[in-house]
């Protein structure tokens, strides 16, 4: 494995930090500059009470001043206090973000375990198995998480095999994680299938075949390694779609993740909470992109070379 230049890593980390900063600032600005504020969205009514509440929450100060204040504290990991919950945003977000991360990670692992081996099988040979996998994938590709979660929930509720809402033991995780994982697994399967069949046509694989290396070893050892490169690039993009997908799954399966927190925050114009949720989302995203970039660079020396 080629060594990564430290400037490459540093630049990537800097880009990730910039992403988090820009996203959370933009979210704060959007939530803050939107028509109406927390007071009009929740209390309304009596002007005297509203004015007092605005003063308490510093909503009577100009936006620039509040933004400076927020940035200053955010740099020390203090994201302020949520208007509606009257609790520090950081604690709230950490709780929910943990749940979202658990769901997303479970889905990612499931999708990888299902999709990659299936793709290797379908990409390296014909036969019934390959055909079944291919058709299943095509069906699942037409079923985004919104659809799979409704289908799986209906099945779970009819058969009473699995709990259908909320969080609890590992069984509560099955329906939402699978809803998220199935379409993703189908996508990974298609990509892996293409990658492996392309890899099998490379000359060094042909040479290996000519040396008499058995087909099984050729597929699962030699060609698989070659096909890894193109697939890793996809994982960076997958993190984003996983995150978008988990939103709808969380809502449908009542999974207490970032989605419902963000929705509450937006509904009540709870600006610090909106910014906090967005920051958490951006951290996930930046981490995902960073890992994918570094992995890609580690596999392909041209990417991480000095000056690249």
């Amino acid at each position: 494995m080629p060594a990564l230049s430290s400037s490459f890593i540093a630049r990537r980390i800097l880009a990730a930090a910039a992403l988090v900063f820009v996203v959370s600032s933009a979210a704060l600005a959007l939530a803050d500059l939107a028509p109406g504020d927390y007071v009009t969205a929740t209390i309304g009514g009596d002007p005297a009470v509203a004015a007092a509440e605005r003063q308490r929450l510093h909503l009577d100060r100009p936006f620039a001043e509040r933004y400076r204040h927020w940035i200053g504290r955010a740099l020390t990991m203090d994201l302020g206090e949520s208007f509606q919950y009257r609790r520090p945003v950081l604690g709230l977000v950490r709780e929910r973000a943990g749940n979202t991360a658990m769901l997303a990670l479970a889905a990612l692992i499931l999708a990888t375990l299902l999709g990659i081996p299936a793709g290797i099988v379908s990409g390296s040979g014909g036969g019934i198995a390959a055909r079944v996998i291919r058709i299943t994938s095509l069906v699942l590709l037409a079923m985004p998480p919104l659809v799979t979660s409704f289908v799986l929930l209906t099945i779970a509720a009819r058969t009473r095999w699995l709990p259908i809402a909320g969080m609890g033991g590992i069984t509560h995780l099955v329906v939402p994680a699978l809803s998220l994982a199935l379409p993703l697994a189908a996508m990974l399967e298609r990509l892996q299938s293409e990658a492996i069949s392309d890899a099998l046509e490379r000359t060094h694989i042909l040479a290996a075949a000519a040396r008499g290396i058995p087909r099984r070893r050729l597929v699962w050892h030699h060609a698989w390694r070659v096909s890894l490169g193109p697939l890793l690039g996809v994982y960076g993009v997958v993190i984003g779609s996983l995150f978008s997908g988990s939103f709808v799954v969380e809502v449908i399966a009542s999974w207490p993740g970032l989605a419902s927190l963000m929705r509450d925050a937006l509904m009540t114009r709870d600006a610090p909470l909106v910014a906090g949720c967005s920051a958490a989302g951006a951290v996930f995203l930046a981490a995902g992109v960073l890992v994918a970039d570094l992995a890609h660079a580690a596999l392909d020396p041209r990417v991480g070379a000095p000056g690249a």
């Binding site: 992403l19 820009v22 996203v23 979210a27 959007l30 939530a31 500059l33 939107a34 028509p35 109406g36 969205a41 014909g126 291919r134 590709l141 037409a142 079923m143 985004p144 919104l146 659809v147 409704f150 289908v151 929930l153 209906t154 779970a156 509720a157 009819r158 259908i164 809402a165 069949s197 984003g240 779609s241 995150f243 978008s244 939103f247 709808v248 809502v251 449908i252 399966a253 009542s254 989605a259 963000m262 929705r263 937006l266 509904m267 909106v274 967005s278 989302g281 995203l285 992109v289």
Partner: protein, 313 residues
């Protein structure tokens, strides 16, 4: 037939069906048959029990237990499938409204938003992609960076944040416009990158140089000569964008930032289904979910060329 042409045809067909379909709805989507909440789907018949032919009809429902919502078919009463009769080919919802009629009406709204948003996204993509590809240099770098930034963001959160920054209560016309603009503003980057690539190559072709040499302005070269070469690519991109926007509408309406309940869109319909348990008791309420799947399938299969359908090997 090329993939681009197939894609265009599939889109046109879908648009046509969606425009015409609500006219065929048996009921007014807002009409409540309050005695028949959660009525199960009824089968249409052409022949009665004695094999006499009739105009299409269904047997009337008899309420057995209004609390448990149990119904029984009354084989002695034939009801015509018309607006004033409680006939529900896809069952009814909790208010006794016809799910079929609502699904058809919802298709027009949900796909309407998706088509409008796709139009906006493709226009933005063509404009920005062409600028980047033609100008090169700093402008190119700036647009490409920005596109990559937007591409990385989880789209649905961005849509939610943008929508959330507007007044919470909007009329349904305003919601339509808002969603179309918000989705359009998020959906352009992937397409713009493709357009940039095509323009970047085409710009160096002889016909483009010739047009420039006889004194055409850069703007004219872009619009008249270069952009037409991206139309096929744009048609194919639309196939991806339309279903994504249909899902986005559903997701936003589901969390209360899209259309508001009495309006029938696919999003408000699944919002009204409520919990998974409700969906298990009355699975016909998931008709709009099936609608979304059909949209995706129609577009993808429609745009696939024969060789893709047959298989790659």
């Amino acid at each position: 037939m090329s993939t681009a042409r197939r894609s265009g045809l599939a889109l046109a067909l879908l648009a046509l069906v969606v425009t015409v379909a609500p006219l065929a709805a048996p009921h007014d989507p807002a009409r409540q048959f309050s005695r028949f909440p959660y009525a199960p789907p009824m089968r249409p018949h052409l022949f009665d029990d004695e094999w006499h032919a009739h105009a299409p009809f269904a047997y009337a429902l008899r309420v057995i237990d209004p609390l448990e919502r149990r119904y029984e078919e009354d084989r002695s009463r034939r009801l015509a499938i018309r607006d004033d009769q409680p006939v529900f080919l896809l069952g009814s919802d909790g208010f006794g409204r016809d799910v079929l009629s609502r699904t058809l009406a919802g298709a027009r709204l949900s796909l309407g938003v998706a088509f409008a948003a796709t139009g906006i996204a493709l226009s933005l993509a063509a404009l920005l992609g062409a600028l980047a590809g033609y100008a090169g240099g700093r402008l190119d770098a700036a647009i490409t960076r920005f596109a990559e930034f937007v591409l990385v963001l989880p789209a649905i959160y961005v849509a939610l944040a943008l929508r959330g920054s507007l007044p919470l209560v909007l009329s349904s016309g305003q919601v339509f416009a808002t969603l179309a603009v918000v989705f359009g503003a998020i959906g352009w980057p992937a397409t713009a990158r493709g357009v940039r690539g095509i323009i970047h190559v085409e710009r160096r072709q002889e016909y483009a140089e010739a047009a420039y040499a006889i004194g055409a302005s850069p703007w004219r070269v872009i619009v008249r000569h270069l952009l037409p070469s991206t139309f096929g690519f744009l048609a194919v991109q639309a196939i991806v964008l339309v279903p994504a926007f249909v899902l986005a509408e559903a997701t936003l309406s589901l969390v209360g930032f899209g259309f508001a309940p009495p309006v029938a869109s696919w999003g408000t319909m699944i919002e009204e289904v409520g919990t998974g348990a409700a969906a298990a008791d009355a699975p016909w309420l998931l008709a709009p979910v099936v609608g979304m799947m059909l949209t995706i399938v129609v577009l993808q299969v429609g745009s696939m060329s024969k060789s893709r359908l047959r298989d790659r090997k």
